[in-house]
Symmetry: C2
């Protein structure tokens, strides 16, 4: 067995023990050993580590029945907290998340769009300290910080490879933020952590395979399989915005023609609208549609049609049991959910998969990325990630 595999097995064993205690406490060491097939020595070592780190305690209860009485293990209440950061172009939301994915507290901070990484990270670090002080949270209870942001993220090394929205390239976010405040840092793409949150604690609770779609300033998707983010080899799986849906279509900012996002995202819609007359915001465009302006009806209907096509294509390729709509367009115009559903049901859904999935609105909305980032940080701590 290679070193790598042995480490993997150790992490798996640790996670297994923690999950059993979390779900069955109070419980005896012997019962854990019996359930898992692990040796008493292995169980004791793991329990010892977790106790030393303050997550477990020896409860007052002892095991029932015949035989030698043994002390049962319990969880330390609220022993595990993490910080979730939703880092976007002009807004940062920072919250403290518990084991159940609940926000203990949270706050919003404006961000200047062309702020340097260094300034942003210092401000995040200060905001977290302030939050812990205000809420009187012992910093030893925080197991780490998760940061979700738009762009391509190297999640293993905690590097922001490229983010158009933040204007960042190759920023060693995890390394720098850890220098600033000492916590372990997990970084990921915002849609991936949002999907994780909806899968574990939101609209797709109970789902085994969740696909989340984001329609807003970008177009993207994220997939969760049995609690785990489906990443692909470069953490880029789900980049549906750059799938080609029309080889004779419009130019995309990526340099290709006919990318899906050219039909849906906010900047494309505004740029198309401005061929007709000056339109400054997406609200103005939808207002023009409501006023019956034909060009606006055509433009928005085309976007809705491509959203419906996207549902079919995502369902055909990932075969999820739940599909969740999210993103600024859907948050601002919630009717989109029902309209898109009508379109894909009547025209675009492949018949054999008609009953294979449920279609949801996001449930966590603007809290999704914060909660997902916090959960990601906890998962990493407990060695799932």
């Amino acid at each position: 067995m290679k070193k790598h595999d042995q480490d993997f097995m150790k992490r798996q064993n640790r996670l297994t023990v923690f999950e059993i205690i979390k779900n069955q406490h109070p419980i005896s060491r012997a019962s854990i050993a019996k359930q898992t097939g692990m040796s008493p020595t292995t169980v004791s070592r793991i329990v010892g580590e977790l106790t030393e780190q303050g997550y477990l305690l020896n409860s007052d209860q002892v095991s029932a029945g015949l035989g030698r009485k043994s002390t049962l293990l319990g969880m330390v209440n609220a022993s595990v907290l993490s910080v979730g950061v939703d880092l976007d172009r002009s807004l940062m939301s920072i919250g403290i998340v518990d084991l159940q994915g609940k926000l203990v507290c949270g706050s919003k901070y404006p961000r200047i769009p062309d702020e340097s990484p260094e300034t942003t990270l210092i401000r995040i670090s200060e905001a977290i300290e302030q939050l812990m002080q205000q809420q009187e949270i012992d910093r030893t209870r925080i197991v780490g910080i998760g940061v979700g942001l738009p762009g391509i993220v190297n999640n293993e090394e905690g590097i922001v490879v490229f983010s158009v929205q933040l204007g960042w390239k190759n920023v060693k976010l995890a390394e720098r933020l850890k220098e600033l405040n000492g916590f372990d840092i997990a970084v990921d793409n915002e849609l991936k952590v949002r999907a994780l949150a909806e899968h574990l604690k939101g609209a797709a609770f109970g789902s085994r395979r969740t696909a989340l779609l984001g329609f807003g300033h970008g177009v993207g998707s994220a997939i969760i399989l049995e609690g785990e983010i489906y990443r692909g080899v470069m953490n880029s799986a789900g980049e549906i915005g750059h799938t080609t849906v029309d080889p004779s279509g419009m130019m995309c900012d990526c340099g290709k023609a006919g990318c899906l996002q050219t039909y849906i995202n906010i900047s494309s819609l505004l740029s198309e609208a401005n061929r007709i007359r000056p339109i400054g915001t997406i609200e103005e465009l939808f207002e023009a549609k409501r006023a019956g302006e034909h060009w606006a009806i055509h433009l928005i209907d085309r976007a809705l049609m491509y959203m419906a096509i996207t549902i079919n294509n995502v369902v055909c390729m990932y075969n999820p049991d739940s599909v969740i709509l999210s993103g600024e367009l859907v948050d601002k115009f919630p009717d989109i959910h029902d309209e898109v559903e009508k379109i894909y049901l009547s025209r675009f859904l492949w018949e054999p998969l008609r009953d294979s999935f449920t279609f949801h609105r996001s449930m966590l909305n603007e809290r999704g990325v914060m909660i997902g980032s916090g959960l990601l940080s906890q998962n990493r701590f407990f060695a799932l990630e």
Copy 2:
């Protein structure tokens, strides 16, 4: 811990022990316990089961070094074999596959396209008996039979839900074939087992995330993640043939317009060709192109363009490290590989993923489904599936 989870853990433990012995034999029980953290009791129970079943033996070697000498465990040579069946419309290929994925022997049998499931299964069963006799293979060494076929398969229950090519609907293949010959039966979609074979023993050996594309009578894909087939909730993941690539496109036999397969698959190409002049086979169509007939150049170039688009879309959505081209079109016209590569590199690949994957021809070709089905059967036996 639920019953389900305990069973899962038992299967996982058994597989872990078997994998360690397979890769490190001769090895002692103590070393297995140390590497895995399992108790000596658990290791002994699993080793006992595997020995009783004839897969392991106590080798003549004993452990080196100080301390109590212990007998080392070895593998019984060629102890594990399985049968792989490639079941297609007019041809059945049946082979015996060893632990390394090598074909010990194999044979082909014609099939009458409208043959009933019962007739086909009886013929498969007889062919397997004959093969074992001819090769003097002890039937106790066969751990099971895998069957790969085109169509939608419920792999958990071994039911062919729907296969246009075979003309079958809701056929309880696994149940009936097991009645006929007593072996454990695994059934799956042909592209999924072909991808498994190429991932484990073929063109994508060493890959962690493999995407295989099939271009032939249908258009489909299959994804393997770290040795496991990515199935989705209905075992339908990868059905790229019915993704919509042009809402104003041609009608597909599924009842939707503009499905990807209408631009690529053999029957669509022939039906389009026959708008111009009578064309009976795909070879005639490619001959017309070589002869410089403009309509044929246009038709085939369009197909190649959509194949290139498919590469980009699959790479964006699954972010694999290897992409493999397979299927009748590629087998008959191998130049397609290089032509498609040229097109996607120059026009359709999203720049950030340019270096994220390698692009391969199928290596196992017409043996792929047989080998993959055999490996699937072994995986299931060793509790991986």
